[in-house]
């Protein structure tokens, strides 16, 4: 069985039962110059080192969008892992003829997994007021930050699914409208309309919460 051990220089070392070792420097040896599409072609040929390079390159990026959708670190990591394991198990699912860009396609995979998970999970109420038993100096400010974060999360959760996706992809991930529209399978104009509606709703909710004044 192969197990991974961390090398002092940050490389990943795979060690077999019999002591055989293969070192993948930063999991990117020989692959850092390859673009995603070339890497996935290597993965389709069963090259595990190419897969490791792909994971190393993109796991944090896809974790971000997963976290924004499932609101939980553990679940987000699980979703990213699941998506990459599916890619490794069935790399032929990416079809260069149909999908121009690997990341665009993979965003769809991660998003679909997250949405499925959200459907399975029971909706959780976010606490409106968080009480601390013994408040110490500085905790009030911390409490205020936590409350504000929980509030924004709550407002975003209340948005329709597509508006949430549009906001996450464009505002939080900084993708272009064109790329976000491609991921969601809609036209750019439709995407822009989703962003506008999402922001307008959020703005109203924030204003209402702050007592009707300007933000």
């Amino acid at each position: 069985m192969w197990v991974t051990r961390e090398h002092p220089h940050g490389a990943i070392v795979f060690v077999s039962d019999h002591g055989a070792r293969k070192i993948i420097e930063n999991m990117d040896t020989g692959f850092s110059h390859l673009d995603d599409e070339s890497l996935i072609r290597q993965i389709q040929q069963g090259n595990h080192e190419a897969f490791a390079a792909m994971v190393n390159r993109h796991s944090n990026r896809f974790y971000r969008i997963a976290y924004r959708l499932v609101f939980n670190k553990g679940d987000a990591e699980d979703m990213v892992q699941e998506a990459f394991l599916r890619l490794w198990a069935r790399p032929q699912l990416w079809n260069p003829g149909k999908q121009a860009k690997f990341t665009t396609w993979f965003y769809k995979v991660v998003i679909n997994l997250c949405l499925d998970l959200n459907k399975k999970k029971k909706p959780q109420e976010l606490p409106e007021d968080i009480e601390l038993a013994d408040r110490k100096p500085g905790q009030d400010a911390l409490l205020g930050i936590h409350q504000e974060q929980a509030l924004i999360d709550g407002f975003i959760k209340e948005l329709p699914e597509r508006q949430q996706l549009a906001l996450n992809l464009c505002f939080y991930e900084g993708l272009s409208n064109k790329e976000a529209a491609e991921i969601l399978g809609i036209k750019v104009k439709a995407l822009q309309s989703l962003i506008m509606r999402a922001k307008t709703t959020l703005k109203e909710k924030v204003k209402r919460h702050q007592g009707g004044g300007s933000i």
Partner: protein, 149 residues
């Protein structure tokens, strides 16, 4: 090309409060409209505050070993075989990562000597007595009529 307040407001929502990052074809018109209108400047300031609120949203960084974990999970797993003695010791030795073959040989020899000792001990019961012999010795002891010191 000019931009009216309504268009500016829409673009503000779609492309965000950083006008310098708007698409090239509308950027200049946006900046010009902004320069000449205090109403648009107020709108921009409000949008900036709103985006500031949105960015306070909670976020947790992923675990440092996330990529490593995914790669490990994708490793092909070896089929489980029936455990053999050699396999067990080989795994044991590997698990403790003994650095040199000599040390491994010494450990294996010690285990072997230990097992051999047990085998010899059980197969050659020195000092054990049969039941019959034990009874005779007891009788001789009880009815001993010789000299008592």
């Amino acid at each position: 090309m000019t931009m009216d307040p309504e268009q500016f407001k829409e673009n503000l929502l779609v492309y965000g409060a950083n006008v310098h990052q708007w698409p090239e074809d509308i950027r200049q018109a946006g900046l010009e409209a902004l320069e000449t209108s205090s109403e648009l400047q107020a709108l921009l300031a409000e949008e900036e505050r709103f985006e500031g609120v949105l960015t306070t949203r909670r976020y947790e960084e992923p675990s440092r070993d996330l990529a490593q974990r995914i790669v490990s999970a994708s490793q092909p797993k070896k089929k489980k075989r029936w455990p053999s003695l050699v396999g067990f010791f080989s795994e044991l030795v590997w698990e403790f990562s003994l650095p040199k073959p000599a040390l491994t040989a010494v450990s294996v020899s010690l285990v072997f000597v230990l097992i051999l000792g047990f085998v010899i001990g059980f197969s050659n019961p020195i000092g054990s007595l049969s039941t019959e012999q034990g009874q005779t010795d007891l009788q001789e002891f009880l009815y001993y009529e010789g000299e008592v010191l």
